[in-house]
Symmetry: C2
């Protein structure tokens, strides 16, 4: 089989002939341009007509997210971070329990606070299985009782018992405290159950931290879990991914990197190299990873984090399923609960666990 380089290419019509001029130009060395960045003009973007009515209505009801305003919404001191952290750690556990039909029990494992979330009815396939849930919130928020929200969603939909890790967070406990806490809980679980009976996962920082933790499990010589659920994972804390730029202002949840996200990344990394695979797992070696389920949307600022992680997993020969939802921004499926998109996500995650856990 021959390997062709652009230099040896036969000159033939390409995918779309209209593109030929750009293409030929694209194969020339850079020279003419002053900046390699593109200035993309203003555009009007309607609600995604191919998305569910619920999602369309949610997007039509609000003005375009303000990138300028979001850039200002950045805590300026540890004190301000702590105020936000405390405010977002509150949740009404009784309401969550009755709303999702689960029981919730707070406990401590190896000094780490965890929440055991059990569905009313465990699915027969999951009698011996556990979902180790890692919550999101940019590595800074949504701890405490709030950790359990997504765990309750997955537990009730999949009919699986979940254990949600209330890992330590900055400003008081920056990296690597969160990774250490997940590892501690996982090692404790391995004392009484097989690795393949455990699915690990979460959304956003929870997805990223799950991937980082598996890198750490492998480095420690531990057996890997049976499956990973990486919901729009924050897999790269640096400002690298294409969708941080292309979807800025289109993602109504994250809006921009240059506010909360960038600040949270710096707070969490605490001076460590952000390309450390335990901080930005996309930079790691994915050989030996378990089957991984990845979710994102066309308006997700972590579309690229998710897609890049998927490609790294595939390149390492790992079973990896990527799912992109039309018009969906970061973690929309946790927010528009009951929407077709959200129902579909949890049905798919449930099927994935049933297929891969042992």
């Amino acid at each position: 089989m021959k390997r062709l380089s652009p230099r040896t290419l036969p000159v033939v019509p390409l995918a779309l002939s209209l593109a030929l001029a750009f293409t030929v130009a694209g194969l020339q060395p850079a020279a003419a341009q002053e900046s390699s960045s593109w200035s993309i003009g203003e555009r009007d973007v309607p609600p995604p007509a191919g998305a569910s009515e619920q999602l369309q209505a949610a997007l039509a009801a609000v003005p375009a997210p303000s990138v300028a305003a979001s850039r200002q919404q950045t805590p300026q001191s540890d004190g301000q971070w702590l105020v936000m952290q405390k405010a977002t750690a509150n949740a009404n556990l009784d309401q969550i329990a009755s709303g999702f039909g689960v029981s919730i029990e707070k406990a401590e494992v190896e000094g780490v606070t965890v929440y055991r979330v059990a569905p009313e009815k465990v699915h027969p396939r999951h009698t011996d299985h556990l979902f180790l849930h890692v919550h999101g919130g940019g590595y800074v928020l949504n701890g405490g009782d709030a950790s359990v929200t997504e765990a309750a969603m997955v537990a009730s939909r999949a009919g699986i018992v979940a254990l949600s890790v209330d890992y330590r967070m900055p400003p008081e406990h920056p990296f690597p405290a969160a990774v250490e806490d997940v590892v501690s809980v996982y090692k404790h679980l391995l004392e009484s159950r097989s690795a393949k009976s455990i699915a690990i996962g979460g959304t956003s920082a929870g997805g990223g931290l799950s991937l980082a933790a598996v890198h750490r499990f492998i480095a420690l010589g531990l057996d890997v879990p049976g499956a990973i659920y990486a919901g729009t994972p924050w897999a790269d804390l640096t400002k690298t991914s294409d969708s941080l730029f292309t979807n800025e202002g289109l993602d109504r949840i994250l809006v921009t990197y240059d506010g909360f996200l960038g600040a949270a990344a710096r707070l969490y990394a605490d001076g460590h190299d952000m390309k450390d695979p335990l901080i930005s797992p996309v930079y790691g070696d994915f050989e030996g990873f378990p089957p991984t389920y990845l979710i994102t949307g066309t308006r997700d600022m972590f579309l690229s984090d998710t897609a890049r992680t998927h490609r790294k997993l595939r390149a390492a020969g790992v079973v990896a399923d990527l799912h992109v939802y039309e018009g969906v921004a970061h973690a929309d499926y946790l927010i528009l609960v009951g929407s077709p998109e959200s129902e579909d996500v949890f049905a798919e995650v449930s099927a994935f666990f049933k297929k891969h856990l042992e």
Copy 2:
């Protein structure tokens, strides 16, 4: 298992607390806004640092695509379409043959012109297999000898014999001529081989037409092929998909719907309902479809067409693999031949054929 609607939602902290204000607003009925569209401001988009050096260099070397200029690049008469069609139908078959290490033979099947493309060495897994190739070009361009380019790429990479269909196109032969031609060739093939030994596919209009043809195969009661390769398929000819708006001007190949694309759609549909599944296959019923491989990129204007098709396939219980490449625009893998992205696409397609053809 309980089904929650937003109305019965327990009020709990969500994915990212910063999003809470938008979220709460998002669950309210629309009222305040004058238009439901968002005006998204100007942005600077650098080359995708997570993509290959070749792709980054190709993007850095050209200015941002001009949406305004692309809107003008629309043929205004059948005569102008025919000039473009003729200009893009030329290819140097000797160069393609030697460049990709294939032999090319022109023939006629049931009155349809086809090109048989055979690699120097057929892979042992593919001794009895055939790739039925459907070329792209917006249903109007890249016919004639130019049909074979992608077929040669797949044939040489996968080590599989390909048959490329030079289907009839508008303005002289609008819908349903193209579908009929693919059906004629497929029926002819079934006389001498099993459906499961055939993979059908192509890129752009070629991906869309492949999906439409399989809808037609099923309606006719024919056995479906063993696999589909849907490279950034034009699965919806209407202006519906989210990425037609979000990636306008970011996709250096397609640039905008409101020029060549929209005009080609109208020319091809020729007054038929564009939501006919034989024209826009995403609107069809995907039950009974064979395993399907889907490719797109974060800057692809058909990102949404591809993702929406993937979801419809999954909802119908079909094996469907979605792959999104970082920073990649529409059909970039056919253009930047030899780039890591392009090599990866054809390696994956090859593996998919080897897995699913019988």
